[in-house]
C-alpha cells in the first residue's frame, strides 16, 4: 500500500552503493566470526574435551549436545526457501514473490551452517569425507546418518540449481547495472542464455519446486533428521513416531521466523518498504502463528503421553522435561508469540513489523532451546539407567555457545556478501508489482 512504484533500481541498489551501517555490521560480524575460528582452532587441536560433552552412562555426561541441537535448528531455518518458493510457484501465492529469493538464499546460508556444524561436531573432521564416501555403497542401506547426509546434499543442490536457473532471467536483464568486477561470474551464470529459454526454465523450476516441497519438509526435517533419534532402542525420550511431525513443525516455524527477520532487516537497510510490504510481513506472521500452534500441539501430545501412565523410562524423561525451566522458557516464548499473532489477527491495529520481528526472534530462541534440550535430555535419561551417574549432566560450554554466535555471524557475512553479487529480490517480483507480470505463476492469490 505504498505510493512508490518498485523499479529495477531498487533491486540493484545494494550493489551500487555501500552505506556506513554495512561496514559496521560487516566489521562486527567479521570479528565475531574470527573469534569463533579461534575457538574452533582450540577445539581442533585439543579435541572435543574442550566442550562440556562426556560419555553417557558410567561417565555421567551426554555425548551429543548443542552442536547437534543447533545443526537441527539451522536445517529447520533452511526450510524457509522451499516453503516460500512452493507457495509462490506451486500454490500461486504471488503475494510472497518479493520475499521468495531471499528465502532461497537463506536456505543456502542456513544449510551451509548446518553442514558446518557436522564438521564441528565430529571427532575426526579430517576424515569425514573419505570415510563417508568409501563406505557409502554399504551404509546408505542402513545408517540414518548417511540418509541424513544424502538428503541434505540433495536439498542443497536442488536449491542451488533452482537459484542458478532462476537467476539467469534477472542477470541477463540487469547486467549493465551490476558491478563490472564480477563480470566473469555473471558470464558463467548466464551461459547459453536466450529469452526463448524463459518459459522452459519456468517449467523446469516448477518441477524442482515440486520435488523439493515433498522432499524437504516431509522427508528431511520431518523424515531423516527425526529418524536419527526416533529409530533407536536406547533413549526413551526420543523414541516414537511423533518425532517426525514434531520436527516438521519446528522446521516450519523456524523457517518463517527466519524469513521475517531477514526481510525486515533488508528492507530497512535498502529502503524496500514498498516491495517487502507490511502486507507480506502480515501474511508471514499469520503463517508463523499457524505453525507455532502446530508445534505447541505436538508438544502437548508428548507431554500428555509422557506423564499420564507411560512406562517408567519414558516417564522419567517426561517428568524431567516438563520440570526443566529451560523447557518452560521455550514453550513460554512460543506461546507469547502466538498470543500476539492471534491478537493481531483479531484486531489488525495490534500488528506492527517490530512486534512481528520480536515474535520471530522469540520463536527462534524457543525452537533452538527446545531442540538442544531434546538432544541432551534424551541422553540424560537412557533406558539403561542403573548407573549412579545417570541421569547425566550437561550445560553448553563457552566454546559451544561461541559456535552459535560464530555461525550466526557467518550467516550474516554470507548475506552481506551475496547482497552485493546478485539481486536478492526477483525481477519477476518487481514486474509483478508494476503490473507487468507474465503470469508465470499458477492461478492467483
Amino acid at each position: 500500500m505504498s505510493s512508490r512504484t518498485p523499479t529495477t533500481d531498487d533491486i540493484v541498489r545494494p550493489m551500487q552503493s555501500t552505506a556506513k551501517w554495512y561496514y559496521v555490521v560487516f566489521g562486527v560480524a567479521s570479528v565475531l566470526a574470527l573469534v569463533w575460528f579461534g575457538l574452533w582452532s582450540i577445539q581442533l587441536s585439543r579435541g572435543l574435551a574442550v566442550t562440556n560433552l562426556t560419555d553417557w552412562g558410567s561417565a555421567g555426561g551426554v555425548t551429543w549436545g548443542l552442536y547437534i541441537g543447533a545443526f537441527i535448528w539451522w536445517v529447520g531455518i533452511a526450510h524457509g526457501g522451499i516453503i516460500l518458493s512452493a507457495a509462490v510457484r506451486l500454490f500461486g501465492m504471488k503475494r510472497y514473490l518479493p520475499v521468495a529469493r531471499l528465502a532461497e538464499l537463506l536456505t543456502i546460508g542456513a544449510l551451509s551452517m548446518a553442514g558446518f556444524y557436522i564438521v564441528i561436531h565430529v571427532g575426526r573432521p579430517d576424515r569425514i569425507v573419505t570415510s563417508v564416501v568409501q563406505a557409502y555403497p554399504v551404509t546408505v542401506h542402513q545408517s540414518p546418518l548417511v540418509w541424513d547426509v544424502t538428503v541434505i546434499t540433495m536439498y542443497m543442490v536442488m536449491t542451488l540449481t533452482y537459484l542458478g536457473l532462476t537467476i539467469r532471467y534477472d542477470l541477463a536483464r540487469i547486467r549493465d547495472d551490476l558491478p563490472n568486477i564480477l563480470e566473469p561470474v555473471y558470464k558463467i551464470a548466464t551461459i547459453g542464455y536466450s529469452e526463448s529459454e524463459d518459459e522452459v526454465i519456468e517449467r523446469i523450476v516448477w518441477w524442482l519446486a515440486l520435488g523439493v516441497i515433498v522432499m524437504a519438509p516431509l522427508l528431511l526435517h520431518g523424515g531423516v533428521i527425526p529418524w536419527l533419534f526416533a529409530l533407536l532402542p536406547s533413549m526413551p525420550g526420543w523414541q516414537g513416531a511423533i518425532q517426525g511431525p514434531q520436527f516438521l513443525t519446528i522446521a516450519l516455524t523456524s523457517a518463517i521466523a527466519g524469513v521475517i527477520i531477514l526481510a525486515l532487516a533488508l528492507r530497512r537497510a535498502y529502503d524496500w518498504h514498498h516491495i517487502l510490504t507490511d502486507d507480506v510481513i502480515r501474511g508471514l506472521t499469520l503463517w508463523l502463528g499457524l505453525f507455532s500452534l502446530l508445534f505447541l500441539w505436538l508438544q502437548l501430545q508428548q507431554v500428555i503421553t509422557g506423564v499420564y501412565a507411560a512406562p517408567l523410562d519414558q516417564r522419567s524423561f517426561a517428568a524431567a522435561k516438563v520440570t526443566n525451566p529451560y523447557y518452560q522458557f521455550a514453550i513460554g516464548v512460543v506461546l507469547l508469540s502466538l498470543a500476539y499473532i492471534f491478537a493481531q489477527a483479531v484486531k489488525a491495529h495490534i500488528f506492527s513489523p517490530m512486534r512481528s520481528l520480536a515474535a520471530s526472534l522469540l520463536v527462534l530462541a524457543g525452537t533452538l532451546t527446545e531442540k538442544i534440550l531434546f538432544v541432551f535430555e534424551g541422553l540424560e535419561y537412557p533406558t539403561f539407567d542403573m548407573y549412579y551417574n545417570t541421569p547425566g549432566h550437561y550445560f553448553p560450554s563457552p566454546i559451544e555457545i561461541g559456535s552459535l554466535v560464530g555461525t550466526i555471524a557467518l550467516c550474516t557475512l554470507f548475506f552481506l556478501v551475496i547482497v552485493k553479487v546478485v539481486p536478492v529480490i526477483e525481477l519477476h517480483a518487481i514486474e509483478e508489482l508494476r503490473g507487468e507480470g507474465h503470469s508465470h505463476v499458477e492461478g492467483d492469490d
Partner: protein, 483 residues
C-alpha cells in the same frame, strides 16, 4: 577350554570350584554311578576312556546337541581300531552325510544351480518368515552369487576371498548356529565386586582415565536383599544397533568370530554408535590419549604396509612384534583409540588372533584377571561350540541347580521327563526385549526396573580408577574448566 585339556593348572576354570561341593559328572545319576560304570569298563579288555567318552557324547546325542552323523564320525576311527568294525546304528546317518559331501564336489554348473544344494534351492529357502540365521542367508547368497561368477555381488560379504575385508556385511542376524560367535557367560553369584577385571582391562588396553570398558555395578534392588553385582562388558550383540548406525563402517562385526570392533583408521568420531547402544559401553577419546601411541606394542608396524602383506607374512610380523593393536587383517582396532575416535571393549582381538602368543588365544584380559583373583566369574569363548568354556560352564551350573533343586524338593524328578536342568538355572541377558541379541549370558539375579548402582565393597576410588569421567573431563573445558 575343553574338558580333555589338561593344560589348565588353575583349579577354578569352571571345571572345579573351591566352595562348590557338587559333583560334575556328565551322568544324570551322578558321579557315584559314573564311577561304577568306569569300574565295570575297567574290568573289560577294552578302552575305558573311549567307553566313557562315547557315553558322554551319547548323552549329547540324546539331548540333540550333536547329530547322529557327527557322533558316528567322531568315534568311527577309534571304534574300528578297538573292535575292527563299527556297526553302530548311527552308521546310516553317517553314510548319507558322506554321500552328499562327495556329490557336491563333482557337481557341474547345472547341478550347482538346480541341485539339492544348488542356487535355486538356496534362493527358495530365503524366506522372510523363516528364522534362518541372517549370517547363513548372506553366506548362501554370497556362495550362490559366486557360483554364478558374480563376484561383485558377494564383495560386501565375507566370501573367503583373501582380499575380502572380512567385515561381515550384515549388521543384523540371529545368532548363527554355525560359525564362531565369541561371547561370555558371567556368573554374578561368583562375582564379589573386587574390580580386578576392570583393572585387568585397563592394563591390557591402556585406556584413558574414566574410559572403563569393563565395568562392574554394585546395585541395590527392591527385589533382593543381597549384595548384587552386574558385570558390564560390551555385549558384542549379534544384532548390534551400534553397527547399523555407523555411517562409515568403522563399527563392524568381524565375520570370523562375531566380535564387534571399531576400525580406528576410519572412525570419524560422530558418536552415533554411542548414542544407539542401549548399554552404555562406548567411551570416546575426547582429548589426547593418556598413553602415547609410541608406547603401544605394535605401533611400530605401519598399517598400510601390513594390509599390503600376504596373510602369512602379516601374521608372522604381528606375532614377532607382539603386536597388541592390530588384528590379523592388519586393521588397527585393539587397545585405546586415538583422539577423536570411539572405543569400547574389544574382546581382545590381538589375543584371539594369536599375536600375543598361542596361550592367550581364546582368552580375554578380564577373564584372566578374574581367574587370577580366584573368582572365575567370567567365562569367555565360542558360545556356538558346545565344548567351549562358557558352554561347559553353563551346562555344569545347570546340572548343579537341577541337583540342588530336586534334592531340596525331595522329589525324584527324572531327567528329561518333566523338566530339564536348564529350567532351574537363573540365566538372563541384559535388555533382551530391545532385540539387540547380546552375546553375554548372565547367571544370577536380573536387575529390576528400579535397580540403582551403589558403592561396592571395593570402590573405584580405592583401586585408583576414575568412575565419573565427566568430573575428570571438566577440567579440560575451555573457559570454564579448572585451568
Amino acid at each position: 577350554m575343553s574338558r580333555d585339556d589338561d593344560s589348565c593348572s588353575n583349579d577354578s576354570c569352571g571345571c572345579g570350584n573351591n566352595d562348590n561341593t557338587e559333583d560334575e559328572s556328565f551322568h544324570p545319576m551322578g558321579a557315584d554311578h559314573e564311577s561304577e560304570m568306569r569300574e565295570m569298563l575297567d574290568e573289560t579288555e577294552y578302552d575305558t576312556d573311549l567307553g566313557m567318552d562315547m557315553a558322554e557324547d551319547a548323552m549329547k546325542l540324546i539331548q540333540g546337541e550333536i547329530s547322529e552323523a557327527e557322533f558316528h564320525e567322531k568315534y568311527n576311527e577309534a571304534v574300528v581300531e578297538e573292535f575292527d568294525v563299527d556297526d553302530r546304528p548311527t552308521v546310516d546317518a553317517f553314510e548319507e552325510m558322506q554321500a552328499t559331501e562327495s556329490d557336491d564336489e563333482h557337481d557341474g554348473i547345472f547341478q550347482r544351480l538346480t541341485g539339492e544344494e544348488g542356487l535355486v534351492e538356496q534362493l527358495k529357502n530365503v524366506d522372510a518368515d523363516t528364522s534362518q540365521s541372517r549370517r547363513d542367508t548372506m553366506k548362501k547368497m554370497g556362495a550362490g552369487a559366486a557360483a554364478l561368477g558374480l563376484g561383485g555381488v558377494a564383495s560386501a560379504q565375507s566370501s573367503g576371498d583373501p582380499k575380502d575385508d572380512e567385515y561381515g556385511a550384515e549388521p543384523v542376524g540371529d545368532t548363527s548356529a554355525s560359525g564362531t560367535q565369541l561371547g561370555m557367560v558371567i556368573d554374578l553369584n561368583r562375582c564379589d565386586g573386587c574390580l580386578e577385571c576392570v583393572t585387568g582391562c585397563i592394563q591390557e588396553n591402556q585406556t584413558s582415565t574414566g574410559a572403563n570398558w569393563m565395568y562392574v555395578l554394585t546395585y541395590e534392588d527392591e527385589k533382593s536383599e543381597q549384595e548384587n553385582f552386574l558385570v558390564r562388558p560390551c555385549q558384542h550383540c549379534t544384532n548390534a544397533p551400534c553397527e547399523k548406525v555407523c555411517p562409515v563402517r568403522a563399527r563392524h562385526t568381524r565375520d570370523k568370530d562375531g566380535i564387534v570392533l571399531t576400525n580406528y583408521e576410519v572412525c570419524i568420531g560422530c558418536r552415533y554408535c554411542q548414542v544407539a547402544c542401549p548399554y552404555g559401553v562406548n567411551y570416546f577419546q575426547w582429548g589426547e590419549p593418556d598413553v602415547p601411541y609410541e608406547d603401544l606394542p605394535g605401533s611400530e608396524n605401519d598399517y598400510e604396509e601390513l594390509k599390503g602383506m600376504p596373510d602369512e607374512e602379516r601374521h608372522q610380523q604381528l606375532v614377532d612384534s607382539n603386536d597388541h593393536i592390530h588384528d590379523d587383517r592388519g586393521q588397527w582396532n585393539d587397545m585405546r583409540p586415538p583422539q577423536g575416535v570411539m572405543g569400547k571393549c574389544t574382546y581382545c582381538p590381538s589375543r584371539q588372533d594369536g599375536h600375543q602368543g598361542e596361550e592367550k588365544q581364546g582368552t580375554v584380559a578380564c577373564m584372566d584377571a578374574c581367574d587370577a583373583a580366584g573368582m572365575s566369574a567370567i567365562h569367555f569363548g565360542d558360545i556356538n561350540d558346545p565344548e567351549s568354556r562358557p558352554r561347559q560352564y553353563l551346562r555344569q551350573r545347570a546340572e548343579q541347580e537341577f541337583e540342588r533343586d530336586t534334592e531340596l524338593e525331595g522329589v525324584d524328578e527324572e531327567w528329561g521327563s518333566t523338566v530339564t536342568p536348564w529350567a532351574k538355572l537363573s540365566a538372563f541377558k541384559l535388555l533382551e526385549d530391545l532385540g539387540t541379541q547380546p552375546n553375554v549370558t548372565y547367571l544370577g539375579n536380573e536387575p529390576g526396573p528400579e535397580a540403582e548402582q551403589i558403592d561396592g565393597p571395593v570402590t573405584y576410588e580405592q583401586i585408583g580408577v576414575e568412575d565419573n569421567r565427566k568430573e575428570h573431563l571438566d577440567q579440560f573445558t575451555f573457559g570454564a574448566g579448572d585451568d
